[in-house]
Structure formats: C-alpha cells, structure tokens
Amino acid sequence: MSRPETTAPPEVFYSETESKKYTSSSRIQHIQAEMTLRALDLLALDPHQHILDIGCGSGLSGEILSQEGGHVWVGMDISPSMLAVALDRDVPGDLLLADMGAGIPFRAGSFDAVISISAIQWLCNADTNTADPKRRLARFFDTLYAALRRGGKVACQFYPRDDRQVEQILGAAKTAGFAGGLVIDDEDKKKNRKYYLILTAGNITTNDINLKGVKIDKQHAARRTSKKNRKEESTKEYINRKKELMRKRGKLVALDSQFTGRKRRPKF
C-alpha cells in the first residue's frame, strides 16, 4: 500500500493534478463512499444535524452527508487544490481552508457530530521543524472536544502506519476527555482492514452508538486467566504460553517442533 503521508506534506502532496486524479478515480470514490456510509452507520445520527467534515478534500464524503438525512455540513481541508476541485464540483457544504493540527476554529458547541475520512493519520507526521506531532494531536483533540456539543459524536476513519500510531491517537483522544474506542473492520484481511475511531464528548450511554456487527476483541474482553487456571496447565502448555509471550514482545524464540516441552530420554 502506498503511503502519501511519507511522500510530502498534505498541502504539497494534493497538488492540482493529484487532486483531480484523486477525485475522478472511480475506485477512490467507491471506497470513500463506503467508508462514509459505514461511519454514518456507526454514529446513528438523527436527521438534519450540523456536521463538521475534517479533511473534506473535494467533498466526496460531504456529498453523502447531504444525501443521507439532509445534514448541513462544513468541511475543512489544508489543500487549496482539493478545495478548488470541491468548488468546481459545486458541493452543498461550506468549505474552510485550515490546518487541523493548529486547532478547529469553531466556538464551543458548534457541531452535533464530526466525521473524518482518511485524514487524521496526517497528524502523526512532523512536516516542518517546528511541528510536534504530540502537541498537534493534543491541540486537535482539545479544540475538537470544545467544538462539539455535549453528547456530540465523532467518527474518524484513518490509516495508521503501525500500532504505535493507533496508541498515540487513542491516547491523545482520551487525554482530551473523549470516551470511546476503535472499531476495526475486516480485521483478518490485512489489505482491507479499516480503522474507525469512534468517540463521544460528554457522558452519554453507549446505546447512542450503533455497535451492530462490531466484534469486540476477545483479548480485551476476556480477563486474564485466573491463578487457579494457570496451576492446572501442564509443563508443555506453560512453555508454549511463555514462548508466545516472548514472541509478542519481539524476542528471538526457538521454533515450535514436536519436541517442544518434552522430556529428554534418559539414554540421550
């Protein structure tokens, strides 16, 4: 998978030619529409809401917001060329040229919901010598929290480079006061895996979010095996468990074979 984040800053990468290419590609249009619909599905919004689209680009996701439920939306993006394409396409929403890492320029309680499709992974990059991803993430989530009304919801689809980026983004969101977590679609297919960050501002019940069809990770759901259970395991199981643990920590571990965990014969 190619990563535009590693190529150039967003306002440089999405140049005039790249913006046109991006918007006219039917494959990208299809994927963007699919992800927007999925994000809306997770948010389970009432009709006629005021929505912010972060990284709206040429308005591919915004058009769906207007079609589904008659929402009124405001889009912000850092690439002038992308916004120019959006103007040409005559999208119904308002457009804003702004950098999400410098803060969301809206007063408290402006929006009912925020949606962002394939954008927030850009925050993990330091494009200039003064940009600090940690501070940009913190500023982004702080101002995002403020711009939402209490009980407002956020759905961000993003492409993390590795688990560390996921942790960084989730940590920044939690620090800003959001509740919520990660929904991963198509987890077993590495290429099609989609990450959705689902957050709520203020205390509301989880019933407000449509979690139908979402699998809760067994590792997180099940508590650690109790001490009692551990005593009952055989030596072989114990060795296998420890080897698995070391492998997860990235240690070099001998391969499993039929002799693993077996006793040596007395006549060796």
Partner: protein, 136 residues
C-alpha cells in the same frame, strides 16, 4: 461561506481562544483588494434543521455580523418557535433559512478583535491557515 458558519467560526490562534474576544470575527474592516461581496444561493429549505440549530445560534453575535454586513432589520432577540411544522411559523423559518443558509459571503475579510489578525475570504472559502509566528 454561509452566514450560519460565520456565527460559529472563531479565531484559531491559541492565545486568543482563551479570551471572549475571539468570537465573533468582525467584518468592519475591509481592504480594497478583497472588497466585501455577498451573494444569494438557493438551498433546499428544511424547517427541521433551522429548528434544531436555532437554540445554538449566538443571536447577539449574529446581530453584530448582520449589522457589519449592512443588515439592520433583525429583531433584538432570538425568535421563539415551538412547533417547526405549524403553518404560522413557516414564514419566520423561511426568513431564517434565507438569512443563515442562503446568504453567502463570497469574499471579504474577517478580523479577530483580540489579536487583530485578518482572515481573508476568497471564492467563499475563508483561509484559517496561520502564519508561522502565530502557530504555537
């Protein structure tokens, strides 16, 4: 930019966001190279949306913005609407719809009262990118 959005945007400088002066942005100083230009753009009328958003509109700020844009006709207080589908309320909802959603600011400039930074609007897109010295 719609007048509705103008009622929500504030200065994006970090030092300003702690002060009450960062909102609303003022249209009182216009420059010669980007003169103020307004336009009417038809948008589908949805009474439910206007009804939903009305309590969250900062009416005093809307009055200031409208006055700076040359409209002194607005009432001093927020119009109260109990039922969005009642026929007697339709005219007022339509007026609000025309004001908030159909009035577009095509170009002009907005000023933050606290730091005096000017945000330019061109082709109805306001530019909120900050110069290096204002980013923190």
């Amino acid at each position: 930019m719609k007048l509705l959005t103008a009622n929500f945007v504030q200065c994006s400088v970090k030092a300003c966001s702690a002060t009450p002066k960062c909102f609303p942005l003022h249209f009182d100083q216009q420059t010669a190279d980007v003169p103020l230009e307004l336009a009417h753009e038809d948008v589908d009328f949805s009474p439910e949306f206007i009804y939903n958003i009305l309590p969250r509109i900062d009416w005093p700020a809307l009055l200031i913005t409208a006055r700076e844009l040359g409209n002194n006709m607005l009432p001093e207080t927020t119009p109260e609407i109990e039922n969005p589908n009642a026929p007697e309320n339709e005219q007022i909802l339509r007026d609000l719809h025309t004001l908030l959603l159909e009035t577009q600011i095509i170009q002009g400039s907005m000023r933050c009262e606290n730091c005096n930074h000017i945000y330019f609007i061109r082709d109805s897109i306001p530019n909120f990118l900050l110069p290096g010295h204002l980013v923190q």
